[in-house]
Amino acid sequence: MKSAVVTFPASNCDRDMFDGIEKVTGQKPHAIWHQDTEIPNVDLIALPGGFSFGDYLRCGAMAARSPAIRAILEHANRGGYVIGVCNGFQVLTEMGLLPGALMRNKSLKFVCKTVHLKVENATSAFTNAYAPGQVIDIPVAHHDGNYFADDATLAALEDNNQIAFRYVNKDGIATEDANPNGSQHNIAGILNERGNILGMMPHPERFVEDAQGGSDGRGFFESIINTLN
């Protein structure tokens, strides 16, 4: 799998993303700097977590206006795969590639912990390595992960099977307690309509080997390999 990771000023999970992808796929991603206007031809572009531009103004807002964005849009429009994790998810909503917005956590506090996710859509390019309804463990670490969209958008997301994961308890039930940030419908990650773009708050790249506390994050990258083959 050919991939690339974009680094914005104050991205801070870019190295984790490089390493995570390489550990799972065996191939080193290309590096894209936010000022690059040309990007290599790859299967997957990953927008990593972090605090691009300090999270000032709105999370992801300034990154979404970077010079590299045009080329990323072109890649997405061609049907190329894009995954945005945490800050990357915020960038994707700010770019308009995914609907809705990520608001401040309901607690108003940063939250870092491992959560249970239920795989709601196990057929997408990013999730086919999981079983439908499978409960997986992945860490979250964010201040603004409270997914918001208007009712019509939410209904469309539900109807089109665009909700990739929800926060659930260990029994797989989407409860308020299981939701670390107050997101609507316990949404943890969504797909675009075409299914080539995934945005999610949890960090799969942090959970690719058991020493890190779990390896449930491998499935994301394995899914893309499955899809490409």
Partner: protein, 740 residues
């Protein structure tokens, strides 16, 4: 210039000198060094350089007695941070520092800039920071400010550390009324570098350019360093000096830009601008290299208009560094900083004058020989009196509680022993993807990226012990970090310290300081665990009431094979539980006495350092040879708390049966005797451990097995794991969400 030209040559009156915190002797020495009276800018420079914070004038004499050397120490105290050899040409670089006073005035920014400052001390040496720790002390939970301070400090540490992308992996938090008017915020940073890429601050090369990089200079925190050296009074709360505001976004860019710069060979010397900003960085670089600096202050990037040289030299604006470059490399370096959108300005060059010469608008506004400024700084031998040793409390004279189980639940859920999850959940403790032991265990463990090695880190101090007996308390603080690092299976390597005390001009406080240093020295010597960096924070008092003496210690150890690491959680039902060490039921100064009896008295548990070493070396060897499933040291709250914590961490119960001899059960279970551990092990390995212990002369006792859903101590109590978890988890979130 205009008619309002700033006056750099006012009459240097007694009042002016006093306002700058200089004594009559210091003033005389200053005049002698200069050979004349100072300009205003010079007076400001002397004032900050000779403040307690920068000059260590009260503590120097005693600090010098600490052991700082070992074959694995590459740089000890004297650099921005200490450096140790961790093999394979790699080095671990670390330091701890206080930001107490600013955090009391503005908890968010005070704590945030504390994290920023300690990170700069580490990456200025060429290290990539890989872990942050924080040691926090707040006043009584009942004090009206505590909630606000705790919430602001934690948010500030998270706000800064999370953004720069360095995991905050651990720390410690205490509540005690002695911190009501003077909290302690001590931040530690650990970094990694290649040994052949370590950068120092001593400048060299006459004619080499001096470069300013980072953020622009504003009027932030002017006199911050002198503030950190003065006692608080009620009205310093009102004075509200200009608070420094941190910009973690810029810090992150600065880290990346500096690492990129240092991957080349252009850097001659580099130094962060910490306390006393441009003054201390330029003086340290010049005096350290035995050279002079000429700086043109008109070139300093400025955020505000009409800044005077005095303000520029004393500003504590954050996220700034000073770099001496090789002469022909300025363009290349500039390109790196521009790529990262950071200010870059050539502000001067190295001279052979030995003086710090400052020019501004065509005038020389200061001209100070740096060597005497740095080296002849005052050194006091302040009078001190030894703290009286308190009486040892005999456990038989402390009544047993009606219900030991209820007492355990109360202690597990008390402010000082309850879960700190509310705090660490606000810190990104996993960014960089190398955190292999999360907060909540004995030591945090982070892997050395792309290797099998890992560093174990712990910060510790038990202020109530230090207050009762500074010497024993000092020993204990060092021993506890050593024990925590050992308990995960690592070899303890070295410590950093952050010595927080009251007003050193009071002989009783100075006695606490001297006592604690004596304890530190003895512990470091016996445990072969040198001090490689640190910081002293004095005058931690409000209205004449000093804090408990708090020599916070940050210990670092090395795991050669990180797969050998253990945690405090037993793995399987049926594992055997073994108690290691001597249990004498030392109840004085214990959490039990404080929480259950409301008494803070008696001698703290003595630390037998040789026993400590013997027991710890034994435990580590057992972990290393794979005999151990889980390990936990015994500290605050004693054996029962250690067992409860292991139970909660694993969700598995335990059946315990204790042979207490003639020690009352409550003293046996809650006593805080030192040098002890609890381990769990498979039945097959238990015999080997017992046999090895016998050979090593280490006291071991099988006390039970893992299993079920309750913590059961025979003939004493049965408590379900859920009940323990509930008591443990609820205090802090409830406290923080309850009304003010």
């Amino acid at each position: 210039m205009t008619e309002t030209k700033w006056n750099n040559n006012p009459e240097i009156t007694d009042d002016l000198v006093k306002e700058h915190g200089l004594s009559a002797d210091e003033r005389e020495l200053m005049n002698k060094i200069l050979g004349r009276t100072p300009t205003l800018t010079e007076l400001g420079i002397f004032s900050v350089m000779w403040s307690e914070h920068c000059s260590y004038k009260s503590s120097k004499k005693h600090l010098k007695t600490l052991p700082t050397k070992a074959p694995w120490v590459i740089h000890g105290p004297g650099e921005n941070a200490g450096v140790i050899d961790i093999g394979d040409n790699q080095a671990a670089i670390f330091k701890m520092e206080s930001h107490n006073h600013p955090s009391y005035i503005e908890p968010y920014q005070g704590a945030a800039t504390g994290v920023g400052g300690i990170l700069r001390d580490v990456f200025t040496m060429g290290a990539r920071p890989i872990a942050n720790m924080n040691a926090l002390r707040f006043g009584s939970p009942d004090h009206k400010k505590t909630r606000h301070l705790l919430s602001g400090v934690v948010e500030g540490i998270g706000g800064y550390g999370n953004c720069v992308g360095v995991p905050t992996v651990g720390g410690e938090t205490n509540f005690h009324p002695s911190y009501d008017g003077n909290i302690l915020v001590n931040a530690m940073a650990v970094g990694l570098a290649d040994q052949d890429k370590i950068f120092l601050s001593a400048a060299a090369g006459v004619g080499n350019p001096v470069i300013y990089v980072g953020s622009k200079t504003g009027r932030d925190g002017i006199h911050g360093a002198t503030m950190a050296s003065a006692e608080f009074t009620e009205d310093s709360e009102e004075k509200r000096p200009t608070v420094q505001v941190g910009d973690p976004f810029t810090e992150k860019l600065l880290i990346e830009a500096c690492i990129e710069l240092m991957s080349t060979d252009m850097v001659v010397a580099i130094q962060d601008m910490g306390a006393a900003g441009l003054t201390s960085s330029s003086v340290e670089m010049a005096s350290g290299g035995g050279v002079g600096f000429t700086l043109n202050l008109d070139m300093v990037p400025q955020r505000e208009e009409h800044m005077t040289p005095y303000e520029m030299m004393l500003s504590e604006s954050q996220e700034r560094m000073l770099v001496v470059l090789k002469p022909d490399r300025v363009k290349e370096a500039e390109a790196i900083f521009h790529k990262w959108d950071l200010d870059f300005a050539v502000i001067g060059q190295i001279t052979d004058s030995g003086n710090l010469t400052l020019k501004w608008q065509g005038d020389v506004v200061a001209d100070i020989p740096t060597q005497p400024l740095a080296d002849n700084s005052p050194e006091y031998d302040r009078p001190w009196v030894k703290t009286d040793a308190p009486d040892v409390i005999n456990a038989k004279n402390v009544a047993a509680p009606n219900d030991i189980g209820a007492a355990l639940l109360k202690i597990v859920g008390s402010p000082n022993l309850c879960s700190r999850e509310w705090i660490w959940q606000q810190y990104d403790h996993q960014v960089m993807a190398d955190t292999i032991q999360l907060p909540g265990g004995d030591a945090a463990v982070v892997r050395v990226h792309n290797t099998n090695k890992a560093l174990a880190i712990s910060t510790d101090c038990t202020p109530r012990y230090c207050y009762a007996d500074p010497f024993e308390g000092g020993k204990q603080a060092v021993a506890e970090t050593w024990r925590n690092v050992t308990a995960v299976g690592a070899q303890p390597m070295a410590i950093t310290d952050c010595l927080n005390f009251g007003n050193p001009e009071r002989p009783d406080i100075m006695g606490q300081f001297v006592g604690a240093i004596d304890g530190l020295r003895e512990a470091c010597t016996v445990l072969d665990y040198p001090v490689i960096s640190g910081n002293v924070s004095l005058y931690n008092e409000t209205n004449g009431t000093g804090i408990h003496p708090t020599p916070a210690i940050g210990g670092v150890g090395l795991l050669q094979d990180s797969s050998k690491m253990v945690t405090i959680a037993p793995k399987n039902d049926g594992e055997e539980i073994i108690l290691i060490g001597e249990t004498n039921g030392h109840i004085g100064c214990s959490e039990y006495l404080s929480v259950i009896e409301g008494r803070e008295e008696g001698a703290p548990p003595p630390v037998d350092l040789h026993l400590e070493k013997k027991n710890g070396d034994f435990v580590r060897a057992q972990i290393q040879n794979g005999n151990v499933k889980a390990c936990h040291d015994i500290s605050d709250g004693g054996l029962f708390i250690a067992l409860a914590e292991m139970t909660m961490a694993s969700g598995k119960g335990m059946d315990i049966s204790l042979n207490t001899g003639d020690i009352p059960m409550h003293a046996y279970g809650f006593g805080e005797d030192q040098a002890r551990y609890v381990i769990s092990t498979s039945c097959e390995n238990a015999a080997a451990i017992m046999e090895n212990a016998q050979k090593a002369g280490v006291r071991t006792e099988k006390i039970g097995t893992v299993g079920g859903k309750t913590l059961d101590v025979k003939d004493t109590f049965t408590i379900s794991v859920d009940e323990l978890l509930d008591a443990h988890a609820s205090w802090m979130p409830n406290y923080m969400s309850s009304e003010v």
